[in-house]
């Protein structure tokens, strides 16, 4: 029954017609509980074929109507208020998802300061000239330090 309610919600609150049509049809074809509620499988078949004439929008309305025998063939058009609510709900859900995504992204970018992170980006010297001549730098990196020391040796002179 929970699945039925879920599909009912999909039908009521999703503004995407093709998605809910597909979802509701799939559910109706597979759900034993919904089938039992209907008078017969033939009735279900007629409802599904009717749904081709009145696409997706009122399919679940008709299924509900079929459950309630008193209004078996009543057609209840979707109110404009419900349409608005669907769009508001869809837009706010997507906005919430986007906001959560961005929040997570920026939080990750700031990063926890103390957690060491492995990186392949390392210090490199691509070119080294001292007093207009190519030179070999003396490099020292203390163990575990984030500092690297490079000395540019002048000819015949050391620090």
């Amino acid at each position: 029954m929970k699945a039925c309610k879920f599909y009912q919600s999909v039908f009521r609150y999703s503004p995407f017609l093709s998605l809910k049509d597909w979802a509701v049809r799939r559910h109706l074809e597979r759900c034993g509980a919904c089938n039992q509620k209907l008078a017969s499988r033939e009735e279900l078949a007629s409802l599904l074929s009717l749904a081709n004439i009145y696409p997706g929008e009122e399919l679940w309305t008709r299924v509900e109507a079929a459950w309630d025998k008193a209004s078996a063939t009543a057609y209840r058009p979707v109110s404009s208020g419900l349409k608005k609510r669907r769009w508001i709900l869809a837009a706010s859900s997507l906005s919430l998802l986007a906001a959560l995504g961005l929040f997570y992204f920026f939080l990750l970018r700031s990063g926890p300061p103390s957690r060491p992170k492995a990186t392949t980006l390392t210090f490199q010297i691509l070119r080294f000239y001292v007093k207009d001549r190519p030179a070999t730098p003396v490099i020292y990196k203390p163990f575990g330090s984030k500092m690297i020391f490079i000395w540019a040796p002048s000819p015949g002179n050391n620090p």
Partner: protein
Amino acid sequence: MSLQKKIFALAMSLFFLTALRANQNDATFFVIKLRFYEGLRTVAHRPSVAVTSSYLNPLLTANILAAVGQAEESKQICRVFNLIDARLLAEADLGWDIIGETQTHVLRFDSREISVAITPIKTRLLTSLDSAHQLRIAVAEQTGLEKLTLLDTEIIIPVKNTAVLGFESRDGFPYFLSLNPLTPGETRKFFPERPTTGKKAGVSGVIGGVISAEKTGAVMAVGEIKPPKLIKKVEPVYPEVAKKAGVQGIVILEAETDAEGNIVRTKVLRSIPLLDQAAIDAVRQWKYEPAIIDGKPKGVIFTVTVNFRLEQENE
């Protein structure tokens, strides 16, 4: 597609594009903290060293105040290079919007003129957290008309790391340049609003940008505009109260000269409360060579670093 759907799709696209644009802006703007040290191999006591340097561009007072780890960095340099002392001569936060743009920082002290030119070649991104900057660094010493390139190198520095480059001046004195690229998080913390450079201010005429002081017409010593030469220096008086409290360190001032080279305005950028006034009082009495810009004498805005050191008993 219904009108509602179209509006919805358009709004979502705009939202994501705005977020993407903001993120790209963050990625392109980066800041490197630069420190320039003088190394002392032997005991040579100098109670104060004054450095006149380029206008720190871009610079916010809060950034320099927030800078930490300088004392530790100085100690490490002494230990690694076996020095008696490594004194901070200048400190600047250099920011780039444009890859390939050179920022030159000129320092004048003890009749020396040393320029540090840094050009970002490219930024290598591994993840949004891990990146490295490929930089070209050229340090030159100007003596009269002769210019000697002391160091010319191209290096890759990962963010969160500090590279200390040591080199000797023409006459064999050791100097050290420390470069520390800030992480995107630190950049956002120190620069919540992106500083405006001379070029971005839309003022043209000189490469590197010249920004005029609104009232006085003084120009900032940025790029090709070098800081003026100091011709009369008055030593700062070390306040007794600071001596008793054992307070030492550097005070950085922004100073402005008039067309005759007299100091007409000072502003504290890096403060040590007990030493600020002594530095201001001394610098106010200094006299600089008048700066000639476009054939006319003009006032210049630049920075002055005053280094206060307490005499050690064992010296």
